[in-house]
Symmetry: D2
Subunit: 337 residues, 4 copies
Amino acid sequence: MINIGILGANGYTGEQLMKILSTHSQANLEIMSSRSEQGKKITDVYPNLTLLKNKTFSGLDLDALSKMDVVFSCLPHAASSELCSKLYKTGVKVIDLSADFRYKSLDIYQNTYKVKHADPELLKTAVYGLPEINREKIKKSSLIGNPGCYTTSSILPLYPVIKEGFVSSSGIIIDSKSGTSGAGKKADIALNFVEVNESFKAYGVTTHRHTSEIEEVLSLNTDKNVTVNFTPHLLPINRGILSTIYAPLQKQVDENEIYDLYEKYYSNETFINITKDLPQIKWVTDSNNVFIGFRIDKKNNLLIIISVLDNLIKGASGQAVQNMNIMFGFDETTGLI
Amino acid sequence: MINIGILGANGYTGEQLMKILSTHSQANLEIMSSRSEQGKKITDVYPNLTLLKNKTFSGLDLDALSKMDVVFSCLPHAASSELCSKLYKTGVKVIDLSADFRYKSLDIYQNTYKVKHADPELLKTAVYGLPEINREKIKKSSLIGNPGCYTTSSILPLYPVIKEGFVSSSGIIIDSKSGTSGAGKKADIALNFVEVNESFKAYGVTTHRHTSEIEEVLSLNTDKNVTVNFTPHLLPINRGILSTIYAPLQKQVDENEIYDLYEKYYSNETFINITKDLPQIKWVTDSNNVFIGFRIDKKNNLLIIISVLDNLIKGASGQAVQNMNIMFGFDETTGLI
Amino acid sequence: MINIGILGANGYTGEQLMKILSTHSQANLEIMSSRSEQGKKITDVYPNLTLLKNKTFSGLDLDALSKMDVVFSCLPHAASSELCSKLYKTGVKVIDLSADFRYKSLDIYQNTYKVKHADPELLKTAVYGLPEINREKIKKSSLIGNPGCYTTSSILPLYPVIKEGFVSSSGIIIDSKSGTSGAGKKADIALNFVEVNESFKAYGVTTHRHTSEIEEVLSLNTDKNVTVNFTPHLLPINRGILSTIYAPLQKQVDENEIYDLYEKYYSNETFINITKDLPQIKWVTDSNNVFIGFRIDKKNNLLIIISVLDNLIKGASGQAVQNMNIMFGFDETTGLI
Amino acid sequence: MINIGILGANGYTGEQLMKILSTHSQANLEIMSSRSEQGKKITDVYPNLTLLKNKTFSGLDLDALSKMDVVFSCLPHAASSELCSKLYKTGVKVIDLSADFRYKSLDIYQNTYKVKHADPELLKTAVYGLPEINREKIKKSSLIGNPGCYTTSSILPLYPVIKEGFVSSSGIIIDSKSGTSGAGKKADIALNFVEVNESFKAYGVTTHRHTSEIEEVLSLNTDKNVTVNFTPHLLPINRGILSTIYAPLQKQVDENEIYDLYEKYYSNETFINITKDLPQIKWVTDSNNVFIGFRIDKKNNLLIIISVLDNLIKGASGQAVQNMNIMFGFDETTGLI
């Protein structure tokens, strides 16, 4: 059993972490801090988390947190790195769900997020927590930058086909659609039921921050200069992301060869499912699974890939727990479905 | 053609008024005031209202409003009566969509809304704007208290059966379910898509303000002392109310007699439809219609009535326009479906 | 580890059983039969059930089923009792999710379901599988009639207050609202997305079959002649039931006394939560929990109770697994949250 | 006033036609035929259409239909052309909402729809009913092939920028998302609420029939050989289409120049709105409007265009009425918002 703290536990990723960890056989949820909910019972805010009925949101206590085995940070970027840096230096393992430790390049981070990084040196130390690509590094790491939701749904399907030269590293279009929990838990008329329900829209077109994360991670891992257009949309559902990816083919391949390539990379991965049908969001809701399906458009020489995941699980808290499992030598699927 | 002003035009009832009046053959939408949106084009806030693309939200200008033929107020209670009182005294006709002029009893109003009324004398003058009951008074009135949404869905089905003694005037239970636009347009996490979607809840149990409005209006119009339990719920849909009403039968009647009673009261009413099937919310969305269906539960000696209406139309803005049509001698259905 | 068979595994309750049992530490899912899906892989029909990726829907094989430790039947009524009767007589434990073994009175069953019962003698043997009321009988039983979803949401909150004479045993009104999965998985235009979404309706008014089940179970367990009006409605959500129950108070009690009564009956029950707030459906989605909240309406002398549960879990498959856990001496919460 | 018949009036496009035409000042809805609903009152099937409460679905009577001024066909392809051909030859004007008269090339039609065309000669006579491109031809035509919903949402934004050489005529990607009414009204488990709600999927990837319609219409009207990838998705909403279009830029232009180009083509079009913000589906629900917004992605040299429309109105029945208005010399906006 390990002792666990969560920073900023009151939002949707915090809720999901608490939900997963409250049934995790190796986890002892010790500290759940939240400035806004400090002193309230967890079940006053999330009555559904009945297993935590005796627990309370605490205030921020770095000293107590430093005695944990691992701390998850669900704080917003900038605020997160400042506290994660301090905690990391006390020797506690840190898994940061913000963007602050996802980048290797300080410039790209700062250009993307328009803030100064609290501890740029740590960018070299931190490991990008995508287990299917970085498992060995994660094992030895004490500081994880947990990937973004859109990013995970883009990188996992693109990594094998770019790396093996099946598709071009430029001219790639990622048209993503996310459930509304991806926007976080905040009072904002634009997120009201009446505004979102029975509607659909694009947002952040040409400017969304996950673009640079996708490009940097894919470039570093494929040794190519990857550029993408990433266009997110807001779905009137609670959770789930579907990304439709259009990638220019560079090789004469048929669908069987692509299937075999994905199997080569992912057949041993519990949470990645390659499918001959095209996946739907309902296949992954409430699970840590990713499904990847695809078609070749011969006329336009395109590989069209469809990936789905749950933005709060494989796109955030589930992946964070998967990283924790790896870091502590637990079975990687403990607590996850 | 008449000139029209709207106070507090930026919310959902204001939007709906603008939508209806922009296609109304006798209406010239002249002033749409909004403190929060002042100076913005209507279509910057509601791009769907393309017919108003040259119009702008103005600030509050009582002098200009007093030159209109009629002013609708979509302001909240208390604020509304203060301005409506001033406007009414300039001679302009006023239709107030707040609760401020719905009551005859100052005590009941003040006990219900916990505020002092700005002009209690006017409660005697104001007419409760439910055309199917008060049409003749509305014709001669210059000050209308436009009924609440839940209230309309409760009074219209109960009025004939209480008045004729088919059901008891006490022991009535009204279990109502409303779409989320009924909560208004405001930033509030409890109204966020993720909170409302895939859920359902009761609220205001034993304390909802519409209870006293239902009781007063029914009592005054049936000459009985009507008491009801009114329990509202929040539906994960944009618009529409369904009320399930349980009323103890007082007479040995069969369903045909009840049907005939409703037909006697409402067969000449364009917007009231008595149905042998049980109505659904989708029958009334985007229209000024009410449907009323019912069943007798012999074992429990209950009349079960189901009514449906669109909370933003017959429950607010459509009914307000219906009142306007009556006040100005237009065909009562002008601009309404 | 016990070996498990499921009859009629292809519908929504079958899917939920497979989902729960695939992570149950004591369960070996051996046979999942389905006439319509026979021969297909489970994951061809339910790709989300990735833990069952090597399993296949089989045809009906009573001999193989009789070698299981327990068989769950998700078949429709009439068909279910015929097969359950045969299986039970081979010595296998049987949990029937249909209505066929829920009644003690053959007459009430046959009047309600308009069919002849396949094995009326077994009605005496079968135990009504509501653990919070019948736990001791369930322990010793080999044939369980698993309760209906609406029924569970009605009986659990009413049982203590009727039994202790807090409320009358007649004049009770149960206004229930259920998600659409309660209607089952079948091709029917009335269940299409466009028909259900953005709408709401009552159905089965005065005629719904769960009425007689609620009345019989409450009467037998409180030694009173309980009669209720039960009125169900269709919510545009996937899963969850909220019941608003109006019961005439018989005793002068305050809310604290009612709270204490519920605590007396249910404070040791893992899956029943008594709450001072009023519960919402989202509190129970995807869990075996029930929440019960209430208010007193003094003016109308009513106790208003709100209960919520997930119709597919505590209202069907979760409760069935809870029964299985009891029958086999497992921790009652195994595999359930 | 003109007399109007509708063939196959029972589906969603038929319902929408009846709704629009029942308030159209020049329209007399005379015949609404439906094999499946023959003899039923319109309001038995669509209680919301209260203005048609005295009308009945009839069976097929070509003789009666031939006496109308115009007949709309909502029949499926193949069945539609057979009857439309007969009716056209009796001299009645025909507006066909199926695909049967949308193509100029018989080969493309037959390859796309895998049926023999009932009257290939008429392909030359028929006019593609997209008023913003073909208004003059529509005025003189008696046989209209009414465009598809996805097609309208793709052609209107692409036509100006391809024709003027701003973007390439190949390498265009159209990622479209449609509400579920686009799938029609039929019993099919895949269209059930529980299957569609809280999910999202692509379908018809590389094979959707609207691809060839988009390509043929754009090619004929721009004198270029236009090829596109068209990928549709199913949104969990009732109505509305949003298309995200990625087109390779061919000219060095900025966003102002593109805005000016759209204004040049469409500023006189009542139903086309060019917007500097990016449009959302809720802007067009229940109206005949189209909104077009766009951004330039300089890094990838792409023009990203977002268009929205209501699939049942501008994507079907509203556009059909717009065509009727043009054919009969009515104000083009009569009956439409």
